[in-house]
Symmetry: C2
């Protein structure tokens, strides 16, 4: 089992975007809205912040108190939609509990052309028919790893485990568009093997639990679950457990995480470029 | 192989909607926009017309000439969005060739709350996350047949053949939401068997071409392709070819066609009811 180095792929993408930004003369501006002070959220925001400044852009932090109301958050999004200096708007999820029921309303309020997360329902819906202006970075990241490893997916078999709106479902639709045979399973079975395939993307499971007999030999495996397990971060796969298999593994940590943020930089550059047209 | 009688299911649904309409005192109003004079389109419109008057509603026909411009059609949709007498708006597809490139723009222009076809990208996107106001009638019709035959789909396996935005893709997302294991294949293989499953929905193939060895014994098969083949209409399956298999078949003709129109009546009633709130 060969390990795919997510950080190297991410560096390559970020460097390409940095060069594009330099050549274009734009200074991409990303607004990140954070409601409350969830520590995990602040950690992710810090990583995005660093990536934006690496490519030569600017992050605008809008930190709202945990008790922000629905109306206040909608008004804030509206202001950013109107602000000609802002290229991309990102609403850090999850929101505090009192606002979660309105999540989709907030996502729908973000201007389709500034929706660098690809979470606006119009951009999601255009995965089913039409051309989304932006697609979720997690799904784009998986697709890039799959293309790098397998080339064209036409006629290939992929098994996707999970049902997340930002990752598994858009990826299923992207792969289907390319003529890949996609099987969606809502959760990793505890013992039974997954269907035979050349590509596995495993999101919803349990920490370090996937067993070698559950996976076809020679496959590409994208581990895209993330857990804090005892003292370390990990995914669904403990790489040692699959050591006897041939194939490739995108592991956790050092796998999708950095790639996802690099893909966000591509989307941000595209947003800035679109405005410049 | 038992045959499922689509017309009987459709009659049951239409009768229920008719009773709901009577009890509610509403008179649901459906606007159908037809551009050009494609004969197939006019045939389908006639069927919808009859169904609307059966449930006690009114159809408003907007027949536009084949050379209608993008701006004229958008303006027409806009007028219907504003018209308080109109509950549901339906744009008959396919459009004349000159307008096809803008199809998604027209669908996006239809008010989400009058979009009884469920084709607005916002309604499509809410299949991925959130709650669509309306879902495509073809997908809803398949789901109803599947539930009637198989009950809960949680943990069951379904194979969906095709990649249509109005049928296969929304159905895949609806089944996934219910915990069904869904495999999507873009086109019916000419000889190879489909993966083992309890439910097959076959849209994209060739007339009367599915062979018994391609299907697992005991399954529910929904034939949802439609062809004019020599002198008759047919689907992907010639029922005789599967005679030796156990299971159930929703055939063409007399299968999904009438059910789809009955589900449209449910959506129209829901639109009228929503306005009444």
């Amino acid at each position: 089992m060969e390990t795919i180095k997510g950080r190297e792929i991410a560096d390559e993408i970020r460097m390409r975007v940095k060069e594009q930004v330099e050549a274009s003369g734009f200074n991409p501006n990303l607004a990140i809205i954070v409601v409350g002070d969830d520590k995990q959220n602040l950690l992710y925001v810090g990583l995005k912040d660093k990536a934006v400044s690496f490519i030569g852009g600017t992050t605008h932090h809008i930190n709202l108190p945990g008790k922000t109301t629905r109306e206040e958050l909608l008004e804030q999004i509206h202001q950013l939609n109107l602000d000609p200096d802002i290229d991309g708007i990102l609403l850090q999820l999850p929101l505090p509990e009192a606002l979660q029921a309105y999540s989709d309303e907030f996502l729908a309020a973000i201007d389709v052309n500034k929706d660098v997360d690809g979470f606006n329902p119009i951009n999601r819906g255009r995965l089913i028919y039409g051309e989304p202006r932006f697609v979720s970075c997690a799904a784009l990241g998986c697709l890039e790893v799959i293309h790098r490893s397998r080339g064209s997916v036409k006629g290939q078999k992929a098994v996707l485990v999970g049902d997340s709106f930002d990752q598994i479902l858009p990826l299923a639709l992207l792969l289907t568009r390319e003529g890949c045979q996609v099987t969606m399973i809502d959760e990793m079975p505890s013992k039974n093997p997954l269907p035979d395939a050349g590509i596995y993307v495993i999101e919803k499971g349990r920490p370090e639990s996937v067993q070698a007999h559950q996976i076809a030999n020679g496959a590409l495996i994208l581990d895209v679950g993330f857990y804090w397990h005892y003292d370390h971060s990990c995914g669904n796969v403990k790489p040692d457990a699959l050591a006897d298999l041939e194939g490739e593994l995108l592991p956790v940590p050092g796998g999708l995480g950095p790639i996802l943020i690099a893909k966000l930089m591509e989307n941000l550059y595209s947003a800035a470029q679109g405005k410049g047209k």
